[in-house]
Subunit: 500 residues, 2 copies
């Protein structure tokens, strides 16, 4: 039984139910779990742990690659299992617990989250790793993501493997597991093209650390389908037009440079936009491979995609994993400290495209906090890419609902500073901020990108601030007034707009 | 004459006075100059250009490595020569022009400033490069800094060389000139130890681009001597004690890891503190080599120092350059896109020590702006190092003058986000922020680091903010009130303190 999935006969005796495996956890443990952008996460053991905690309370620190699917984070939060959570999440229930101060959340650069573990600063008690199979040498073939699993497997005292029999064995070979090691013998990451293979196809594991094997057959939570609408199409078109302009100027080729694209409907619309454009031989060096990448492969536009996970819609999941041999030559899945490595992103000259929650008139981007205080998801890999990219693009709709401008005098929280934002795009237009001083950036962002309803008041703020002087003119007593007014009056504007 | 300094006979005819060389500049030109932390800058031509502009107005964009010495930036600003300036400055006269909006200033990561030039986004008309000598093949041996000079020399249409005869020829061999090139053939930077040599001893130059050679004999502006005082000693002691604690925990060795230290009296006190401590075989991978490094070499504590410049006091200058062969085996000078390369800083596991202007209770650091609006110097390399270091330390005095706390509810400008700040130190104590969520950081920063006069009001703000909830609790209507109160009442406090 499952002999092709568990290739060490002695380990068959460690097959347990999820409920039994959940019994291994103790209060105050530091637990690590595979899972990145809802792909390759624990499907059974964490849920069983949440159920156990309903009767037998315990609290853990939970570290993952990035977000988990299946509402698992919400279940854990609802059952008060989480004392601390890192480095990323997207769950509405957990989000509430974080913002209420019940769960301590470490919002970390995804490319750096393995470092605390590798360096022994945060020791791991138990790691749960979803795998396609266990090899003869104990090594694990991951499923649809790699994330931080290699670091977890190396550091954890005990390992629980979830063998997911719904994921085809044909995934073996798509992963490229490499660790640069730690100081003083940290190695060069010798990736010079998106497709360079530098490691192994499986994660090294000491089989004696495997304390339980749980069998599952649940597929990943499907990604939400983001249909393009008028605004996201407009944003995509501004950016594609700009890329064409850069090609004409001789600064880019029709193959552009390796692309990174965040998650979300705007980023998706941009990627889908490449299908119609005059671009070809595109490549990706990104965190996550989404529907748009497979559509670009099918359209003959995308030559290669490197990332740490595959997160796709239900329809796309069937298409890809029922026919994985067709797509495998185009793909590589890497640990997140490699997919998001500063070294590689800079060397490859990545063009990064990420979504902003808000951007101020000087180009400082808030990627995480609603109203400056409440966590949305986390910084994710946005700054890993934006900080080191050849060209860092941030996209957002200029406004949302009545009364909320996404371009504000001063960002209420800053994750990506003006130094790391090259191009800013909304449905109204694009601002190329390269080579500009803050006062030049402000004019461009307000007049090219802001929603027309807010332009006058933004210009008024900027002009008054300039009278007070400075490199980055501000009136501190008014700088955050757009946010406080929104809370009090339901609109950021001093005067109510006629129409949005 | 100067045949050992200018080794291409045909070039002798291009020797000009600084005044004649200054005649080569035209209005609206983009001019690049060597110079990094006041070392190896143009001593004659830029000053002559300022003098010329007094009668014959013109405006240029000036790009350097980092700061210039000899008040040159101030002279240029006073004579209205600067339309735009990048990527760094420290001049009080220029600072005023920047803050008045007369000079547009691009505050750039020093490690990234070559990229705009290499990629052709900012084309260079004339580059001025200070050199020890011109070799037979036209290549230049730089003086006391490398900075962006290799990028300038490659990109500029015309080059003016300032041969500084006061700098000994024995400097030849201390520089290591390497360019990773540009996409799509950007190379690995193969540095695996602070002392790895990967390039040439001189900057390649097409001799036909050399339009003028100007002879000078002016030494670099001496660095200010920063004597240790009670506060800076206290900061240094907290940090040294912490390093000892990390050694005991087995996370560091007595050789620590390669050190980077910013400029300033606090950073200097920390470096000087190593002389007395139980540390040995220290190394530096930094931007600038200061007096403290030579004192550590003389004390047998520092095994090697890599940087982009040597900036020392007058006394130290004599000691080092009159006896350069003694120090040369300990030193390497690199281009600033190599000294500050994310790739190398991360690989070497650097411990970075930089100075904050202010830090908020959640660990966000303002490195540049006074009162949130007025530029001090620039971000420099602080985020190149803090973002990629193994351990990123920020130091500051907890308060200054009466009424100014350097720990505030919300930073009025953010250059280094909480994600990039591991250790924060003031004379009162140290906060190890690794593995902590924002609410945990706040308690630690307020209670360990803030000046006792401000602790109650900081805790009051934090407690009230927590009642309103959030990952990063804030009361937006009060968040910047400490800064506005300072402007209005001369103190950040609501109640005047008894004593500071």
């Amino acid at each position: 039984m499952h002999s092709n999935r568990i290739n060490i006969p002695q380990l068959h005796s460690r097959i347990k139910t999820a409920e039994d495996a959940a019994g291994l956890f103790k209060d105050k443990m530091v637990v690590a779990s595979s899972g990145f952008t809802k792909a390759g996460d624990s499907k059974a053991v964490l849920k069983a742990l949440a159920a156990r905690a309903a009767n037998d309370p315990l609290q853990i620190t939970l570290i993952t690659g990035a977000s988990l699917g299946h509402g698992t984070d919400g279940l854990l939060a609802a059952n008060h299992v989480l004392a601390k959570r890192m480095p990323f999440q997207v769950d509405p229930v957990l989000r509430r617990s974080i913002n209420e101060g019940e769960v301590l959340f470490l919002d970390q650069h995804l490319g750096e989250s393995a470092e605390l573990i590798n360096e022994g600063i945060v020791p791991i008690d138990i790691a749960i790793i979803e795998a396609v199979k266990i090899n003869e040498d104990g090594s694990l073939v991951p499923t649809t993501s790699v994330g931080n699993s290699p670091a977890f497997a190396a550091a954890a005292k005990q390992i629980i493997v979830e063998i997911n029999t719904s994921v085809p064995l044909s995934l073996e070979g798509v992963h490229d597991i490499f660790s640069a090691g730690i100081w003083p013998s940290r190695k060069i990451i010798p990736i010079t093209e998106t497709g360079t293979r530098i490691g192994n196809s499986s994660i090294q594991v000491d089989p004696s650390k495997i304390v339980a094997i749980v069998l599952t057959e649940t597929t990943d939570s499907p990604a939400q389908i983001n249909e393009r609408d008028e605004k996201t199409r407009a944003i995509a078109n501004h950016l594609l037009e700009f890329f064409n302009h850069e090609i004409k100027k001789g600064r880019l080729l029709p193959s552009l440079r390796p692309l990174q694209s965040g998650i979300g409907k705007v980023a998706n619309a941009v990627m889908e936009g490449f299908i119609d454009g005059n671009f070809h031989n595109l490549t990706m060096y990104s965190e996550v491979i989404q529907d748009s990448a497979f559509n670009l492969i099918d359209a003959g536009k995308l030559a290669f995609a490197s990332a740490s996970s595959i997160t796709v819609s239900q329809e796309c999941y069937q298409r890809v994993f029922n026919n994985f041999e067709r797509y495998k030559p185009y793909l590589i899945l890497r640990p997140q400290d490699i997919s998001n490595a500063a070294e590689v992103i800079h060397r490859l000259g990545v063009i990064s495209i990420n979504t902003a929650i808000e951007c101020d008139i000087y180009g400082n981007v808030n990627s995480t906090h609603i109203g400056g205080t409440h966590m949305m998801n986390g910084i994710g890999g946005s700054n890993d890419f934006a900080r080191n990219a050849y060209m860092s693009v941030f996209v957002t709709q200029s406004s949302s609902k009545a009364g909320i401008s996404h371009i504000v005098p001063m960002a209420s929280h800053i994750d990506n500073t003006e130094h790391d934002v090259d191009i800013f795009v909304t449905e109204n237009g694009l601002a190329d901020l390269r080579g500009l001083a803050p006062r030049e950036k402000a004019r461009l962002i307000i007049n090219n990108c802001a929603h027309v309803s807010y332009r006058d008041e933004l210009n008024e703020y900027f002009n008054n601030a300039c009278k007070a002087g400075g490199q980055t003119p501000h009136l501190l007593q008014e700088a955050l007034s757009w946010h406080t007014r929104l809370k009090e009056n339901g609109t950021m504007l001093k005067t109510n707009p006629v129409e949005f």
